[in-house]
């Protein structure tokens, strides 16, 4: 892992304004910060340097004597390999669908929960539960208790409904093999919608009431108020939700590992899972490292936008 922003400069201090801000005083201020800073640099930056180095080697542990420097050829491989290209595409499809659908559902739920209704507190509590279920447990739950063709809740309910209307039996759909990507997407949307809802609800509640009141007095319709006041106000919260969601969902490993193992074929193999396979099934360390570097560069692009959004929210807060 690496830095996306310039590290703090230890170089020449700015012109001194007061005598007390001398070297000793400055170090006294820095001391509480140092353990956390050093720990973070050692544990998160050094492995990334190692990844960079390994990515330039031909290194397969099944061929022990054959470890040598190959320059950028692993990257040539990464960019031309069919499987990796599929994995990149799958990652984009998976991440985009999960994030977009959960933002839309989350916005709907947040708008409902922003109003008073019977049992609002309880509804909110129940709604965040999917996000709190352990991701691996959630994936197993969807795979075995819900999607299973023989006794899963989906087919079971279909069956019960069919019988209710006098049919012999409901259809037996093998959800995961028939719709592998949607199956993974639905389970992740289920987990991430509460996250989006919480962020957007916080945004709605930070909305200045007097502006809404004024809009109402001026005779604006609900739709107009939503389009021209609520949505612009929510924009940065939506951005934040999209960006944080993207960063977490791009890294999805648990759900793919548990629900589909990347299959059938490589239909649901995303980049993290492909890197895992390259490491622990093909033992191609050089290639895995090169793919890792590519993932980091991708994350870098997303993170640049994310950091900009967070920085703008942060500046507002500091200025307050």
């Amino acid at each position: 892992m690496t830095t996306l922003t310039a590290p703090p400069k230890t170089a020449p201090p700015p012109a001194r304004t007061r005598k007390s801000s001398g070297t000793a005083a400055r170090w006294k201020r820095r001391i509480p910060l140092l353990p956390a800073l050093v720990f973070t640099i050692v544990v998160t930056q050094l492995p990334f340097v190692a990844t960079l180095v390994i990515s330039t080697f031909q290194w397969n542990i099944l061929k022990p004597g054959d470890r040598h420097f190959v320059g950028l050829s692993n990257f040539t491989f990464v960019f031309t390999d069919e499987r990796l290209r599929t994995a990149v595409l799958n990652t984009v499809v998976l991440t985009a669908s999960v994030v977009i659908i959960s933002v839309i559902l989350g916005l709907g739920l947040a708008m409902l929960l922003d109003r008073r209704f019977v049992g609002r507190g309880l509804a909110r509590t129940l709604l965040i539960a999917p996000f709190l279920v352990m991701p691996v447990a959630a994936a197993l739950l969807w795979k075995h208790a819900i999607y299973n063709p023989d006794y899963g809740l989906l087919n079971g309910t279909l069956n019960a409904v069919y019988r209710l209307f006098g049919a012999e039996n409901g259809p037996t759909v093998d959800w995961i093999s028939s719709f592998p990507m949607p199956a993974v997407v639905v389970s992740l949307v289920w987990q991430w919608t509460p996250f989006m809802m919480l962020i957007l609800l916080a945004g709605l509640q930070a909305q200045p009431g007097d502006v809404l009141e004024a809009a109402r007095m001026d005779g604006a319709t609900a739709l107009q108020t939503f389009r021209h006041i609520t949505l612009p106000h929510l924009r940065q919260y939506i951005e934040l939700g999209v960006l944080l969601g993207t960063i977490y969902v791009v890294q999805t490993f648990d759900a793919v590992y548990t629900i589909t193992q990347g299959g059938p074929g490589s239909q649901t193999t995303n980049l993290p899972y492909e890197i895992y396979l390259t490491m622990f099934r093909k033992y191609e360390y050089g290639e895995a490292a090169a793919a890792g570097v590519v993932v980091v560069l991708g994350a870098f692009v997303i993170a640049t936008f994310a950091l900009r959004t967070i920085a703008s929210l942060f500046r507002e807060e500091v200025a307050r």
Binding site: I31, L33, R116, A129, M134, I146, A202, Y237, F253, D254
Partner: protein, 270 residues
């Protein structure tokens, strides 16, 4: 003043809530059923209830996995706090120069995919003979949660009123007195929320746990996937295991409900 939902929209809100909650409810309900009643088609939600699955889980050694999880999440959370609280102090109350750059450095480490670090971490840990060791997970979870904790704690410490701090210093109060009397009361709820968030993330972590442990140090999520492959499928017991391992986070999450969004958005949203 918040407007009220009409009965129609109240109905929609509750319908949506129940739809989202249904899988959780189904998981918990199935965990209290016998295997024969769990895997039926059509489903039999009103089958008799039993604690058998939970009893079986504990007789099948889920305990060491739970203990590893508790150890990894509790110790890493304590380490995170020990590192993050002083750092947050140096980023808010007595800020170092360029403190915003430091904040964004911490944040940037959070944005890099953990999978990219897996290979070097695996090689280093293997070389050091630390594979299958809970302390390896503790160090990794500490690094994973430290940026979140620094951001969260800073946002809480920034709420300590500057005037009172200055007044206390003018009055000649010592550092410890200031910390205890002025900073601690404001920071305590933040400290609790931060620990809960860090606990949740460590408890749920799977990728490092499954790839860096084998038998001795495996945590609860590893137990879940392992028990499927080892024992074939027992739906009711699977649901019991899933409920059991999710329970601490459900409790922590409900307890930290109001602060959850602040932690998840790294303190950006209150």
């Amino acid at each position: 003043m918040t407007a009220r939902l009409t009965p129609f929209w109240t109905f929609v809100a509750w319908l949506a809530t129940l739809a989202f909650f249904a899988p959780v409810a189904w998981m918990v309900l199935t965990s209290f059923h016998q295997e024969a009643d769990a895997a039926t088609n059509p489903p039999t939600p009103f089958a008799p209830l039993t604690f058998d699955q939970y009893k079986l889980l504990f007789s099948r050694d889920i305990t060491p996995f739970l203990l590893n999880s508790v150890m990894a999440s509790v110790i890493s959370t304590l380490l995170v706090l020990a590192l993050a609280v002083p750092a947050a102090y140096a980023l808010s109350i007595k800020p170092v120069e360029k403190w915003t750059d430091v904040m964004f450095f911490f944040l940037s480490t959070k944005f890099l995919p953990a999978i990219a670090a897996l290979l070097p971490v695996y090689l280093i840990v293997k070389d050091a003979g630390m594979l299958d060791n809970v302390w390896t997970l503790i160090v990794l979870y500490t690094a994973m949660n430290l940026p979140i904790a620094v951001w969260m704690m800073r946002s809480f410490l920034a709420e300590v009123p500057k005037e009172i701090l200055e007044a206390a210093e003018v009055d000649g109060a010592g550092l410890l007195t200031v910390l205890w009397r002025v900073v601690a009361p404001v920071a305590m709820p933040g400290l609790a929320a931060t620990s809960l968030i860090c606990f949740i993330f460590s408890w749920n972590e799977f990728m490092f746990a499954v790839n860096l442990t084998a038998t001795q140090a495996s945590t609860a999520p590893v137990f879940l996937v392992g028990f499927i492959t080892n024992e074939g499928l027992f739906l009711a017991r699977l649901c019991a295991a899933a409920t059991l391992v999710s329970l601490p986070v459900l409790i922590a999450g409900f307890a930290a409900q109001d602060k959850l969004v602040r932690g998840l958005s790294l303190g950006a949203v209150k």
